[in-house]
């Protein structure tokens, strides 16, 4: 039995946050989508998750936000040892990040993907699907229930090579 899987979206502009969650609504068949308006809110939510049999599969985070900025949050999360954050895929999502910020994100933030605004909804769904597939493989989850939902080819390939043993 797989744990309860979450996708966290962090974005300070309500309209944009609403649009992202709408674009990702299809993933809710297997993942629980959580929308947060700030880094603080995301951290409170994550701390609330830590006791349960829950795992965060992916975090999609805006960079330019009041309070803690996206990269700072992702760095902090990368360094934290919350069990829910093991193997979590991190996607930085921004309309404005300088060159230096990008370098910092890649070097220290453990960012897995960098997505520029404005975004193409189909592309966003593709990217998240690939990242979730990678998560399922790295966290050694049971890929069977997710086969038709994520990247079938990669998951089948993985199943051929490994006997699924849970590592989360």
């Amino acid at each position: 039995m797989n744990p309860k899987l979450y996708i966290l979206c962090i974005e300070d502009e309500p309209e944009v946050l609403d649009a992202i969650t709408r674009d990702l609504a299809d993933f809710e068949a297997h993942f629980c989508l959580e929308a947060c308006a700030s880094a603080e809110e995301a951290k409170t939510l994550l701390n609330g998750l830590s006791d349960e049999d829950s795992r965060v599969a992916a975090i999609l985070c805006d960079h330019v936000m009041p309070g803690q900025r996206g990269i700072e949050l992702l760095i902090e999360l990368t360094e934290s040892d919350l069990p829910v954050l093991k193997h979590t895929r991190k996607i930085l999502f921004t309309g404005q990040a300088g060159h230096e910020d990008t370098i910092e994100a890649i070097n220290h933030g453990g960012i897995d993907h960098y997505l520029a605004k404005p975004w193409d909804p189909d592309k966003l769904v593709d990217i998240i699907r690939e990242q979730l597939t990678t998560y399922v493989i790295q966290a050694r989850l049971d890929p069977l229930p997710l086969l038709s939902f994520l990247n079938r080819e990669r998951l089948t390939e993985y199943m051929r090579k490994h006997q699924p043993i849970s590592d989360v």
Partner: protein
Amino acid sequence: MSELTERSEDECSGEGDLSQILGFIEAEPSLSQRIESLEAGESLLHEADSRKRLWLILQGTLRLNKTNAAGERLRLDELGPGEIVGILSYYTREKSFFGVEASTDSRIFSISWDSFDRLHTDHPHLHKLMEKRVRESFTRRYRRLVHLHLEMDRLNEALKHERSELRTTVEELEKTRERLVHREKLAVLGSVLPGIAHELNNPTASISRNADYLESILKATFVDASAGDAIERFWQAGVKAPLVGTTQQREQMSKIAEVDPATPRPLQRRLAVLPPELLENLLKTIKNETTVIRCLHSFEAGRFLHTLRSSAHRIERLVHSLKRYARTHNEAAAEVDLAVGLRDTLLILGSRLREIEVRYEPGRVPSVRANEDELNQIWTNLLTNAADAVGDDGVIEITLSTEARKTLSETKAGVLVEIADNGPGVAEALREKIFEPNYTTKGRGGNFGLGLGLGIARTIIERYGGTIHVEGNHPRGARFVVWLPQAS
């Protein structure tokens, strides 16, 4: 180079010796026939020659040369009357260390090593005099060596100093170049901004207009006569109401899940952005899915229109600010109400300042004479600086008051604008520096603010006879104080 020929105090005795030697030589035909003449520029000895002779300079000067590693011939020393050439080779029995040539027409007394050695027995007195000349020649050259060392040391020091000055100059030049490039970029940006603003205005206007057209059509579609009040209320809420926050959304999602656990999460999420009273209303009818969806659609259609319109409005405001930023300031000064200008600026900066507590109680103050756009840009600059400076629990306080200022001859009534924040403040040492042109604490590149630099702010304010400075804000933060004379 400094003086090449240094004459020491033994010159006088040297001259005395020389006239004695000369008298001796001239009286002795076997010696006087060894007196030779050299024309200026004529070479006596090349480096590494093996002439096995000594020469006593009777008249004129001779130059010592030495070839350096680069193959250039350096002038090392000049020898005058009474000095002896060829001493080094004589004592070391080596080939000539220097090259020697006449720098003026000269007369020299030439004597082979053998004859010189024989002087001891042949002419003991002359020998004694000549030996003294040799000693003195050495002494002078040694002294000169020491002087040269000292001189070299001085030159090295001077060189070191010059090099460090040069380095500073190069650094300065690089900085200046960077500033010029930056300024050039801003100038280019300024010149293309009006065009870009214009190009942006058209699609933005079209978004706004189309949203208006859609509104009447959508409203007619959803809120028809058969629909009843409920649908209209949802429509209205969508068009007007702000979205509920994420925390509240989460709470409402669990409430929905409690009432009807079968509701799929995406639908829960969509319902959870409804204003609480409408959601309450809808939860009662949740068994009738068609109605629920119809109400939700009505709400969402209205909300999308609202978002479309507010986004277009945001672009419009941005374009407006960009145009103001790019405008050249040649408009005439007029009587300006600072309270109105500050209010407008706060309006434009709305999104920049959300999350920050802005305390501003607009009072009535007399008008000042200035260009309103220029002043607004200064407020923009001061407020965005303050917004950048404060962290969590940021507070910006704006105060407007009157203050008379005395000059030597008169008392001037004026208006005081104070913008204080609770950020880290401005270090004492920087309180003047921040008003220098091109001073910035922000990173290079991407940071393109809408305001002007503090340097330009000061220039503008001083042009209107006012002042701007910064002080500490108790207990922490910075307080920018602008004073402008009241319009007469």
